[in-house]
Subunit: 456 residues, 2 copies
């Protein structure tokens, strides 16, 4: 084993301790009460970048700041690699379903349990540690590095595109590397070939000015909870095909994507077991992987109305709220889908209530252009770290900024993720495999070597 | 004015102070954390009964106790009147919508604002004060009295029927008087001719074992919130006619009830204004009063699933819960409706999720037999207190124990309520009119006189 990789192995316990410090900061971007935690988290990260040998700055945006770490010592002939990640995390609720507190990381059965462990603090931090290893062992990096870590991925990355546009020259790169996705299964290194896009809405139905007695008024006033349910029920037919006119118009999955799905070693029984549902199910006529990687969805993320406490309370609720998001596939335009969605709700809403649709944010889907030095280097690096070549797989989730990166920086993006099925990202008991944190660090270090040598 | 009514007028300020004490006790029967408050409330009430001159006992049941106040000094020839009320109240949530705290009574614009003011502490307490007036002024009552105040009306009165059965001899009465309903409008004394029944359910839909990432799983796992909405949407057609097979089979409104509705001075515009809704609405083909008094309903009382906090969280929820209740009309059997409801949910539930229907409680509807001394006495007493004769009106709400009282005690019930439209029973800012508390006390005292003299 090279000195580089020995350094990583020797320092893994410290790397993990540092990650734990990172995970203890409750950097929940969606919640205003965590504003100070977000700032503290950005500063902590900048300090760690400096300690590793990068020049680090905290860059203000209209929202939570971006943390930038740079190293330009490889010279103009060497490629510049931009590594992207995010230090913000999803809200931890419902807290009572966590086996250990979300911001007190704990290792159980080879898994690091904490909010943000795999999404995305663990995955971004392994790159910083790979950079540290290169600088510690060789005093230099094989490539120029821009480590760009934002704080608004979980709330739609609204300020990142303007930041990229405004800093286009400074951020210019030959490749964009992102570790915010997963592997198909344990021990199977994976390169991501697609991401779904997203549009996120709230639908609010307003009935009476306040909750009413369901006896004194029930039957003579439209119930906003029932009205909301009627709206939601019209989003899909009984085959779970979305009913929004025009929703599927732009969907056009290339034949090679469908062929690629056939080659993925996918364990459907294990996937079902992860979910804990009684059965898998979804749009009729498609396989599970097709549903996840090639079909858009309309999903209820949350719903609330009236009395939901213990026992019986006979109210006719004043309002009803649903959080609704669509995952989009490549070629669907979020703006077009937004308009179709809003028009459809307007069309199907019942009389006698006020219905408001609020658009929260959206992002484009993405499909990889699997070609060139970047993908070859990644294949070799992953094989080195995991002992077998990677598979190519789609991804059901969204990283709305990926298409934006490619467009603004005019460079290809690579998704090299180290999550695993069942990791509970966005859910209680989120975890990242200790093994993947370690092998991911080796893979990142190897990727930098490969990218440096491929251009020499 | 007689000495009796002068006594009431002179003591009204103290009566109101006492009522405020009563209202300050948060006797929420649905919540286990208020267990001690329930006991304290029962004891407070028993003390006040004793102070008025009744023999008071706290009677244990399987749940919250019944408070009994008795006076048997009128002799066997005089009638015995059972006055029923309840000292428990609805949960006060949502707290943030109250203009003043729910358990800190406050008078504004001639209204006593507090949880339980009109439902039912204010209405039961005026009877106790009328009894006190008789005993203070005359040293005796014109009738024998049983004042029966339960603590579980808001959670279905489950233990009251067994209590009535077990104490049938002791509770034997010639008439049952209940003030837990409302008047058609300010200054219009009202006798209630019907009550709706109730069945209350929870529908729980379980999907994945925990909230899932809506990208990583969305499209391949049935969403329980969407599934619940589909179930709820099938409860009514687009004309708001309930779709549960057999639901309306027993509904048969007598012609005189429909004719009576025509005579009720009902201000539909004022009713709409009370609700604050954009429009009234309900089952096609029926007027507002028909919908409230002669038609059963299927109402969503609450609904919760997934993430409902600030901002966007992209989860596929693990579970979804709805609280659903039906208001029933006379001749509908709650047990039959329960079976029809459960069978229908079983029939319409989507595949791929677990659906559980939990029956919480139920009660029969009621229709008054408007005849005999009781109703004549009430007409005269209400005219004395309000200066005009009462109207007869239906009631959309439920007092599930009324049919049970009539059956077990073999005596007619009288609904003589002093609530008013817009009183926010079961909602934030519940209030009772100060004027009605006062005139109600006079009416109750007059009713006892009338009932005593009518049998002499």
């Amino acid at each position: 084993m090279s000195e580089l990789h020995s350094y990583i192995d020797e320092n893994l316990p410290r790397f993990r301790e540092e990650l734990f410090e990172f995970l203890r900061i409750p950097s929940v971007s969606a919640r205003s009460e965590h504003h100070d935690d977000m700032r503290r988290c950005a500063e902590w990260l900048a300090d760690k970048m400096r300690a590793a040998g990068l020049e680090a700055t905290i860059e203000e945006t209209g929202g939570h700041p971006v943390v930038l770490g740079e190293w330009r010592g490889a010279g103009e002939a060497a490629p510049t690699i931009l590594i992207y990640g995010h230090y913000d995390v999803q809200p931890p609720e419902p807290l009572e379903l966590w086996s250990s507190p979300p911001f007190e990381p704990e290792v159980r059965d080879g898994k690091i349990y904490a909010r943000g462990s795999v999404d995305d603090k663990g995955q971004l931090y392994l790159h910083l540690k790979a950079i540290e290893a290169h600088l510690a062992v060789h005093g230099k990096l094989p490539v120029n590095i821009v480590l760009l870590i934002e704080g608004e991925e979980e709330v739609g990355s609204e300020n990142l595109m303007p930041f990229l546009e405004a800093n286009k020259e400074r951020l210019a790169a030959d490749a964009i590397v992102i570790s915010d996705t997963g592997m198909v299964g344990p021990g199977i290194p994976t390169i991501g070939t697609s991401l779904r896009g997203l549009v996120y809405f709230e639908i609010e139905v307003e009935g009476p000015a306040q909750d009413l007695h369901s006896g004194a008024y029930g039957g003579a006033v439209i119930n906003p909870a029932t009205a909301l349910a009627k709206i939601i029920a019209r989003l899909h037919d009984d085959d779970w095909h979305a009913q929004i006119p025009g929703f599927y118009d732009a969907v056009d999955t290339p034949a090679e994507v469908l062929e690629g799905i056939e080659r993925v070693p996918f364990d459907e029984a294990a996937f079902l077991a992860e979910t804990g549902a009684v059965a898998l199910g979804g749009e009729a006529g498609y396989s599970t992987l097709e549903r996840l990687w090639t079909r858009p969805t309309v999903e209820i993320n949350g719903m609330i109305s009236g009395y939901t406490g213990e026992g019986a309370k006979t109210v006719l609720p004043s309002t009803a709220l649903a959080k609704v998001s669509c995952r989009l596939v490549p070629d669907q335009d979020p703006e077009v889908i937004r308009e179709l969605f809003e028009a459809y709700i307007e069309e199907v809403k019942p009389e006698g209530v006020r219905v408001e649709v609020r658009y929260l944010h959206g992002g484009q889907a993405w499909r990889a252009r699997v070609e060139g030095d970047l993908y070859r280097a990644a294949e070799r690096a992953l094989e080195q770290a995991f002992g077998k070549p990677p598979v190519y797989a789609g991804e059901g989730g969204s990283i709305p900024i990926v298409p934006g990166f490619e467009e603004v920086l005019e460079a290809p993006a690579l998704l090299m993720g180290f999550g695993l099925p069942g990791q509970n990202a966005h859910a209680p008991d989120e975890w990242m495999s200790v093994e993947n944190f370690e092998k991911g660090t080796h893979a990142s270090a190897a990727l930098l070597s490969e990218l440096g040598s491929s251009r020499e």
